[in-house]
Each structure stands twice: as structure tokens, then as C-alpha cells.
């Protein structure tokens, strides 16, 4: 009986796909799905040991809590590896690592808003764009260097977070998501259409790399250290704030807003802190991105980019600092490894998002308490 049911489910999907894929591909899909179901049934019947192993692995991943005494050792080993990377790695790997570092900063920033405080920000890319464009324009049009422009860029993104947050934070969760999404789209549209300032869809080019004591950091291995430093600073600061009074207030708000407010937390004010503090890091990442690419255009800051950063946070584990860094590294590296199937990247990402929500909402290295 159950087999018949599964057969009908497979048939249902094949028919759903039929108009889009054509008869041949739909038949292929039918065979593929059927064999998957068959394999799964065989596995459910005989694969007891494997299932036991998976269960134990899941349990172990829940309890990834390092022993406090081993923590310094692990961290210094990791730091050593990261520090030595430019000596052993080729430019290609370095390039990807830099990108992964920038995304990790973004993911850490978004994690403050989504992971700690539980506010869904779908327009995070707008802050990233503001940071990137601020440095790009200040550098190209005004002639400011990286270090002078950086605080301005970070300040401006923080201000943008404040301006968006003051009115938007009165809204409930889903509406906030939509308003941030709208904000992201408006920023992109303005960048795309304000030709006299941003050069429209053609973007801004000729951005100079940062200098340190007169030494250009544009070379990959030097730039790698700059990004690594920025990542460490981000990680450290976010980690400290996470453990502070503010961080605990954020988590209280995420877990139960009404209880939090009865405990004397000014929820609106702390949510505003989260939004502003979260967007600052996007300003930093944006400036790093602009200085690395030496070119920015609105194309880099679409809604899909927001979703990608959000996926990093979710994959790694909402609220877990090491988790979101791992998530960022995986999502940047994976498409590079799986070059041949790159067109299926977004499909895999979306299926992963849905599956993650259903089967493992706490992420790989879960930081989020399980559902209420």
C-alpha cells in the first residue's frame, strides 16, 4: 500500500515537470525518482547501521561545544594555518579565500540581525552596496584613500541602518522583512539610475587599492592579510558584543519578545542597536570588496546576493559565530569545486534552504534554540 502511494507521488511530480521538461526528460525523471524511492526503501529496511551512524553524527553536531582548555590550541592551530596560506597557496585559491573572508564578514554582520535578534533582513545587500559605493566614489571622485574613506563608509552604512530602522522596527517580523527587501531594491534602483553620480549600470571603475605606510596592498597575498585582519576584528568584536548585556538582550528578544520586554528590555531600542550594529559590518565588507575588485556596479548587489548571505547564516547555524563563518566558506568554495554543475548552483541552494528549515533549522553548527 505504501509502495503504491510512493509510486503515485513520483508520478505526480513527473507530470508536474512534464510541460517544462518535455516527455523525454520527464520519463527520465520518473525513472530516476522511482529508483531513488526504491533505494530509499531498501535502505530503510536494511541500512540500520548507517541510520544509527547518521543519528549519532547529528547528535554530536548538536553538542559542538569545545572544551575550554582545548579552545586556545584549536584557535592557534587554525590561525597558524590561515596565516601560512599565502606561502603555500596559489593565486586562485587566495582569490577565493579573500572572497570567502569578505562574505564571512557579511555573514557575521547579518547574523547579528537575523541570528541573534531574529529579525529577517532581506535587504542586507543594500548596506553592502552603500559601503562599496562610498569607498568607490570617495576614492575616484574626491581622491580619499582607503583608510580615510573606510570610517566614512562604515559610518554611512550605520546611519542608513538607523534611518531604515527607526520607522521600520515598529513593524512585525514579516513586514520588516518586506520593508528591508524594498529598501534593498530602492538602493539598487537608485545606484542604477543616478547616472551623474554612480555612472549607472556601467559602474565605477579605477578604484585604487589600499596603501599601508606607502606600501600598496593590491597584491593578492597582501590583500589576503588585510581581509584576514578585518575578519578577525569582526569576529572578535561581534563575539564580545554577543556575550555582553546587549547580546543577551538580543537573544532574549529573539526567544520571546513579550517576556523580554516584561524583563525590562526596551525591545525597540535593542532591535535598533542590532540593525545598526549589523549594518556597520556590511560597510566594512563593501569597502573591502570595492578595493579588491577596483570596480563596482549595481549588478553585484541584487536581491540574490542578500539571499546568498542569508543562506550562509542559515547553513552555518543562526546565531552561531563559527557556524556562519563555516557557512560562508562552504558557500563560496562549493561552486568553485563543482564547476561543471554550476548552473545547478541556485537550485541546490534553494533546495538546501528548504531542507535546512525542515530538517535542521538550527544549522550545521546549531546556535539557535529549537522551535518553540
Amino acid at each position: 500500500m505504501k509502495g503504491l502511494n510512493q509510486f503515485f507521488i513520483v508520478l505526480w511530480f513527473s507530470i508536474l515537470f512534464l510541460p517544462f521538461t518535455g516527455i523525454k526528460a520527464s520519463l527520465m525523471l520518473f525513472t530516476l525518482l522511482s529508483s531513488c524511492v526504491l533505494l530509499f526503501r531498501v535502505f530503510m529496511k536494511y541500512g540500520k547501521g548507517v541510520r544509527e551512524g547518521v543519528r549519532r553524527l547529528r547528535k554530536r553536531m548538536d553538542g559542538v561545544k569545545m572544551n575550554p582548555s582545548t579552545r586556545p590550541i584549536v584557535f592557534s592551530l587554525l590561525a597558524g594555518c590561515l596565516f601560512c596560506l599565502p606561502f603555500i597557496a596559489q593565486n586562485y585559491l587566495l582569490d577565493i579565500s579573500i572572497l570567502a573572508g569578505i562574505y564571512a564578514i557579511l555573514a557575521l554582520g547579518l547574523n547579528i540581525v537575523v541570528g541573534f535578534t531574529g529579525l529577517l533582513n532581506l535587504g542586507y545587500v543594500a548596506f553592502y552596496a552603500l559601503g562599496a559605493y562610498t569607498y568607490a566614489l570617495l576614492n575616484v571622485k574626491v581622491g580619499l584613500g582607503f583608510w580615510q574613506a573606510l570610517p566614512l563608509g562604515i559610518g554611512l552604512t550605520g546611519l542608513a541602518g538607523f534611518i531604515l530602522g527607526v520607522p521600520a522596527l515598529r513593524l512585525k517580523g514579516d513586514y520588516l522583512a518586506i520593508v528591508t527587501l524594498g529598501f534593498g531594491e530602492i538602493v539598487r534602483l537608485v545606484l542604477n539610475n543616478w547616472d551623474s553620480l554612480t555612472n549607472g549600470p556601467n559602474g565605477v571603475s579605477g578604484i585604487s587599492p589600499p596603501y599601508l605606510f606607502g606600501m600598496p596592498l593590491g597584491i593578492l597575498n597582501r590583500y589576503y592579510y588585510l581581509v584576514l585582519l578585518a575578519l578577525i576584528v569582526t569576529y572578535g568584536v561581534v563575539g564580545r558584543v554577543h556575550e555582553s548585556k546587549i547580546g543577551r538582550a538580543w537573544i532574549a528578544i529573539r526567544e520571546d519578545e513579550i517576556s523580554a520586554s516584561t524583563m525590562g528590555i526596551n525591545t525597540t531600542r535593542y532591535r535598533l542597536y542590532a540593525l545598526v550594529f549589523g549594518s556597520l559590518w556590511a560597510g566594512l565588507a563593501g569597502a573591502l570588496f570595492a578595493a579588491k575588485m577596483q570596480f563596482v556596479s549595481p549588478e553585484s548587489f541584487t536581491f540574490m546576493e542578500s539571499v546568498l548571505i542569508l543562506s550562509m547564516v542559515i547553513l552555518g547555524g543562526l546565531g552561531s559565530l563559527p557556524g556562519v563563518v563555516v557557512g560562508a566558506v562552504i558557500l563560496v568554495m562549493l561552486p568553485e569545486v563543482l564547476r561543471e554543475v554550476q548552473s545547478y548552483r541556485m537550485i541546490a541552494l534553494s533546495v538546501g534552504l528548504i531542507a535546512m528549515m525542515i530538517f535542521r533549522p538550527q544549522g550545521l553548527l546549531g546556535g539557535l534554540a529549537k522551535g518553540r
Binding site: L171, S350, G371
Partner: protein, 300 residues
């Protein structure tokens, strides 16, 4: 000129209304923003092109154009409803009791999946819907109303009236309203909640499919990415009229259509897509319950 823009706005607005109805019905019952609803509309437009192409190749269009169009419409609606039904089963039903963030994220996942699925199977280039009616139409007060525009307005009106009848006059419609008011109480009274929710998705998706086919007829071009912007606009329409309110969605869609066509012709067409976002943000900040919506106190 103004009247012409009014007609154009009415046409586009009617389509927004049809999509907005799906958003508003789902939100009314599940309090979920169904992000993937715009993609269902996009699927509808593609299915229209695919089935119509099939019937043309099979010679049915040459035999009878209305029959071919009608069959295309029926098949597309059936398929889109099936997609909506399946989507709810896969992505939303397992998350019904999860924290509020989860179904929203899974809805975003669903939306990206459908977009890329269509892009991979149908290609990233624009698809063309054949121009069936040429430039036939009639003039009214100096404005030109094409046959397609007339059809869109008439079909939308029929759909909205029948939806209204369905929700207010039938048992299923009453059950829907009951579930929207109080899920637990409705289930205590013997209403099958799961069936009602599935039905909501089926109806909403069917309406979106009709909207998709009509927009394919109107513009003649369809792309895998049309669902995203149309979805946001329809959502704006739903919020504008008061989310959860069916007449509100109809009103909001028409209003948004007017604003857009007026704004595009008198202010700037480059920012055409931004008007919807600006209206959305303004409405949410000034009157979150929408124009026809009721403010509800938050329950503790």
C-alpha cells in the same frame, strides 16, 4: 492622454489584483507571506506559452482559436494549482508550528527554486507569445483600448466576482473564513484545516495562472524573472488594501496599477518599479492595516 493612462493602469492593475488575491488569502489563513506566489504567476505565463504552442502545432488553433485559448487557460490553471498545492505540502506544511522565520525562509527557497527550474528547462532568454489579435480594438474618449485589454479587464472582473461569491456563498468559502478567524475553533467545529489550507493555495495559484497568461498575451514577452517583481507589486497591492481582506486586494491592485502608469508617464519611467516599494513602505509605516483592513490588537 490621461484617459489612456487610466485604461493602461486598469489593465495592469487588474492583473496585480488577481495575483494579490493569492497573497491575501494565504496570509489571511496562515499569516505567511508566500514569497513563491509571484513564481506561480510566472509559471502560469510559461505554461500558457507552452500549451498554446502545443495546440498550435497540433493544428487546434487553426481549427478554432477560442477553443485553443480556452484549453490553454484550463490546462495552465490546473497545472499551476497543482504546483501551488504541492508547494504548500513540501515547503510550508512541515513548518506550520515552527518559529515564524522558518516558513518565510523556506518560501524564499521555493521562489528561487522555481525561478531557476524554469530558467534551466526553458532557457534564460525571453519567450514570445504570438500576437493573436493584431492591433484590433476600439476607441473611447480618444483613448485606444485593444482587444487584449478588454479581455483582461472582463476576465479579471469575472474572476473577482466569482471568488467573492465562492467565499461568501459556499460551504468551503465559509470554512475558509472560519479558519482565517480562528484555526483552533474551526477545527473543533469539524472543519478539516489541512483541506481548507490546500484549497486556498489551489485557488490562489489558479488566479495567478490566469494573471500570468493574460500578461503574456498583453506584453507578448515572458521571462523567468518576471515573477519576482510582479510578486512584490502584488504583495504591495495586498498590503495597500489591507492584507487578509479580499476586496482590499482587488482595490489595492487597481490603485497600484493607476499609480504606476501615471508615475511612469508623468514623473519618470526609470523608477517605475520603485513606486511600488515606496508605496509599500509608506503604507506599512503610516497605516500597516491597509486602507480596507481592520487593525487587530496583538494577542499576548
Amino acid at each position: 492622454m490621461v484617459f489612456q493612462q487610466l485604461i493602461n493602469g486598469l489593465t495592469v492593475g487588474a492583473v496585480y489584483s488577481l495575483i494579490a488575491l493569492g497573497y491575501t488569502m494565504v496570509y489571511g489563513i496562515l499569516e505567511l507571506i508566500n514569497f513563491a506566489h509571484g513564481e506561480i504567476y510566472m509559471l502560469g505565463a510559461y505554461l500558457g506559452i507552452i500549451f498554446f504552442g502545443f495546440f498550435t502545432a497540433a493544428g487546434l488553433t487553426a481549427y478554432s482559436l477560442p477553443l485553443s485559448l480556452l484549453l490553454t487557460l484550463v490546462l495552465s490553471v490546473l497545472f499551476c494549482s497543482a504546483y501551488g498545492f504541492t508547494m504548500e505540502k513540501i515547503a510550508y506544511r512541515p513548518l506550520r508550528n515552527a518559529p515564524r522565520l522558518s516558513p518565510l525562509i523556506s518560501a524564499i527557497g521555493m521562489s528561487i527554486f522555481l525561478q531557476n527550474y524554469v530558467m534551466l528547462t526553458q532557457g534564460a532568454t525571453d519567450k514570445v507569445f504570438p500576437n493573436l489579435f493584431g492591433s484590433s480594438g476600439f476607441s473611447l474618449f480618444g483613448a485606444r483600448i485593444t482587444a487584449v485589454q478588454t479581455m483582461i479587464i472582463i476576465v479579471s472582473c469575472i474572476m473577482m466576482v466569482s471568488l467573492h461569491m465562492f467565499v461568501t456563498r459556499t460551504t468551503m468559502g465559509t470554512a475558509m473564513r472560519a479558519v482565517a478567524q480562528d484555526k483552533v475553533m474551526a477545527s473543533l467545529l469539524g472543519i478539516n484545516i489541512d483541506a481548507v489550507i490546500s484549497m486556498t493555495f489551489v485557488i490562489g495559484s489558479g488566479l495567478a495562472a490566469i494573471a500570468g497568461i493574460m500578461i503574456a498575451l498583453y506584453y507578448g514577452l515572458v521571462n523567468y524573472s518576471i515573477g519576482y517583481v510582479a510578486g512584490i507589486k502584488a504583495f504591495t497591492a495586498a498590503v495597500l488594501g489591507g492584507i487578509g481582506s479580499i476586496p482590499g486586494a482587488m482595490f489595492g491592485g487597481l490603485f497600484l496599477g493607476f499609480v504606476e502608469s501615471m508615475g511612469a508617464s508623468y514623473i519618470s519611467s526609470e523608477y517605475k518599479d520603485a513606486y511600488a516599494f515606496l508605496i509599500l513602505i509608506a503604507v506599512l509605516l503610516i497605516r500597516p492595516a491597509g486602507i480596507l483592513g481592520k487593525t487587530t490588537e496583538e494577542k499576548v
